[in-house]
């Protein structure tokens, strides 16, 4: 597959001011997204992972201009023209939103309880000035695509289960046939038995409609399953970017390794892999100097706390932000065993 970029994010930053006291004086900034750059190619799924507070949701919201980015460019290569989302006018944003839509995490709060399903799904069309009759027809067309019957059109969100609501959110995103969809934790609020249905649906829709996804999640096994490439964030910084194979099998950043090792394996006969990262994510208001991960990194040297590493190209599209990415041996042995394995049942 030739790599045609559809979205290029260049040096994106978003700093939220922190205000204190009676006069609401600005006492500092939370660097929610700090100089993040990545490219999304047509037809692929880019996974964006990290712990809470790492800035992944802020990146998603910047992509849609739901929060205003402070710095950087977000280039969307549309069919006819290229937009810079970071500086687009209101009118241009209408065109952008025809090319790019978002699916939110919580299907219980992202649907207006007083709107019928048909109105919820048709809302993006209304914004695009499509007539009511036409909009109604397109809603009935899209319902079967997301696995809902036509009788759902007249229901209210409270009559639907979590999985059905998330299908409605997906239909709302896809109604304007956008080539690019940002999915912010689309399955984490769902029951286990429904989660796999929605992942299957997202995979199906991607191949049927030739969609491109930016898929944000904290569940690494799901991200691994659905993504072609993965970006790992820590405290507002991109720390590793590569293909799923590179990030999961050949990761070079100690944080990525720790994140992967803390995934619990659903197999009671394998209780030994888990490595536990000590400490907690520092406050994004006051991140550690030098490499932000240096306070928790088992390999930190003096240089790490004074000098911030650059994102370096390791070849083959694999980027790592670590001073010692070439030298570190991130093999299994350094990670201590966690639990003892139970003996087979008796």
């Amino acid at each position: 597959m030739p790599d045609t970029p559809i979205l290029q994010v260049e040096n994106l930053s978003k700093f939220f001011p922190v205000q204190r006291g009676l006069l609401r004086r600005t006492v500092g900034h939370v660097k929610a997204v700090n100089d993040v750059s990545f490219t999304v190619n047509k037809g692929e799924c880019l996974g964006l992972v990290g712990e809470s507070g790492c800035g992944k949701t802020t990146v998603a919201r910047c992509l849609l201009r739901l929060v205003e980015p402070d710095q950087g460019r977000i280039l969307l290569h549309g069919e006819q023209q290229t937009f810079d989302i970071a500086s687009a006018s209101r009118k241009e944003m209408l065109d952008v939103r025809r090319q790019m839509q978002i699916i939110f995490q919580d299907p219980f709060s992202s649907l207006d309880p007083r709107w019928r399903v048909t109105d919820v799904i048709a809302e993006p069309l209304m914004a695009q000035k499509v007539g009511r009759g036409e909009a109604g027809r397109r809603v009935l067309d899209i319902l079967p695509t997301v696995g809902l019957g036509p009788h759902f059109a007249d229901r209210f969100p409270h009559e639907l289960s979590g999985g059905e609501r998330q299908r409605v959110s997906i239909a709302r995103a896809l109604i304007v046939s956008p080539p690019l969809v940002v999915a912010d934790e689309p399955v984490s609020a769902l029951d286990v038995s429904v989660r796999s249905q929605i992942i299957n649906l997202l995979l199906d829709l991607q191949s049927q409609m030739n969609l491109t996804y930016v898929f944000i999640a904290h569940d690494l096994s799901i991200v691994k399953h659905i993504s072609h490439r993965i970006a790992v964030m820590y405290l507002g910084r991109l720390v590793e970017l590569g293909t799923t194979q590179q990030v999961f099998e050949e990761c070079k950043h100690p944080y990525t390794k720790a994140l992967l090792a803390s995934v619990l394996i659903p197999d009671p006969t394998h209780r030994e892999q888990s490595y536990v990262l000590e400490g907690e994510v520092p406050s994004p208001l006051n991140p550690p100097s030098g490499c932000h991960f240096s306070t928790r990194c088992p390999f930190a040297q003096e240089q790490c706390s004074t000098e911030e590493p650059d994102l370096r190209d390791m070849g083959g599209g694999h980027w790592v932000r670590c001073h010692f990415a070439d030298e570190l041996d991130l093999s299994e042995e350094i990670f201590a065993p966690q639990f003892d394995t139970p003996t087979a049942s008796n």
Binding site: S196, Q197, I265, S274, A344
Partner: protein
């Protein structure tokens, strides 16, 4: 098996709630035994009754209609106590609650009161159950904070909950639960609200405390990976009923109930081929008020047949392995 002394036995537990819209049978006939020093996992999706089961052990649901038996075996040769027969607000259950059986809840953000320091909240539990002076209680509280891995415990003792992160608050909850050295710890989704790296820390802490204090743990979760990593014995619940119970390795290697089988097939494993369709269960969990009669899983079950409209029998597959399903009964 070395010592399989039961510490808690639940027999035919039913918990019903009377609602305007009718009776919700949140828990309908649950049986299990918690052994000394072992971890029992209860797994299921939302509405399966796992949290209600946990809360009814401590009689935290006074307005419910609870029947059945919950036998607690105290240390020594004492007679077992039937917790269901106790007055939910009486002294007898209050002496057990927090002392012999302690609980940690899902939301570390909301289960601590914001108006007291964490030190005061730990000492409240200590002084309720132990006859200690203020100084002794404070000393014990600080040593508990150290034990659960809170750095700089003396200073953090005077912190309010809002000054701590989610992982730290969950450690405080664990410290409160453990300060009276309970025989049984009930952990209701203790890591669901936490990040993956913190989840691994908390689970390791629970496991090591369980071994050090020879404590029994009831781990309640929707996450089969947590069960696989921690539990010795597993109860699978669906809509208030027990679908299957088995030792953990047996459950993962040879599941019998179609629901357990489907759940285990639907999770992503390290060796799942990327981007392939996952196995899934059709439909979603029905509202507990409209639960189907007979087997409650029947409207989503791939192996459903005519008999499933009647209550399914419990079929034994080994001394400790059983499933509640018609599939294994000859016509």
């Amino acid at each position: 098996m070395p010592d399989s002394q039961p510490i808690l036995e639940v027999h035919d537990l039913h918990v019903h709630f009377k609602m305007l819209a009718g009776i919700v049978r949140a828990v309908d006939g649950v049986d299990f035994t918690v052994e000394r020093g072992r971890c029992l996992g209860i797994v299921g999706e939302s509405g399966c009754g796992k949290s209600v089961t946990a809360r009814s052990i401590l009689r935290l649901l006074p307005s419910s209609d609870t029947s059945g038996q919950i036998l607690y075996h105290p240390d020594g040769d004492g007679q077992p106590i039937d917790l269901v027969s106790l007055d939910a607000k009486g002294d007898a259950i209050r002496a057990i609650r927090g002392k012999d059986i302690a609980m940690i809840f899902q939301e570390p953000m909301t289960s601590l009161t914001p108006v007291y320091t964490i030190g005061e909240q730990i000492m409240e539990s200590i002084r309720q159950h132990q006859n200690l002076t203020e100084e002794e209680a404070q000393e014990l509280a600080i040593s508990m904070l150290n034990k659960v891995g809170i750095p700089d415990a003396e200073r953090r003792f005077g912190d309010y909950p809002h000054q701590m992160s989610g992982g730290m608050r969950q450690r405080v909850m664990i410290a409160i639960a453990l300060c009276c050295e309970p025989r049984v710890l009930i952990a209701d989704e203790p890591t669901t609200a936490l990040d993956v790296t913190i989840q691994a820390q908390i689970l390791r802490l629970i496991r090591s405390l369980q071994q050090d204090l020879d404590m029994s743990v009831i781990m309640i979760t929707h996450d089969l990976a947590v069960i696989a990593q921690l539990a010795d014995f597993v109860v699978v619940m669906y809509l208030g009923q027990m679908a299957e119970k088995a030792p953990v390795v047996e459950l993962f290697q040879d599941p019998k109930h179609p629901y357990t089988q489907a759940l285990l097939r639907s999770i992503v494993r390290p060796d799942t081929p990327p981007r392939e369709q996952l196995h899934s269960i059709s439909g979603s969990v029905p509202d507990p008020r409209n639960a189907p009669s007979g087997c409650r899983f029947r409207n989503r079950c791939p192996s459903v047949h005519d008999r499933c409209v009647e209550d399914p029998p419990v079929v034994q597959f080994g001394p400790q392995h059983s499933a509640t399903c018609w599939l294994y009964v000859d016509e």
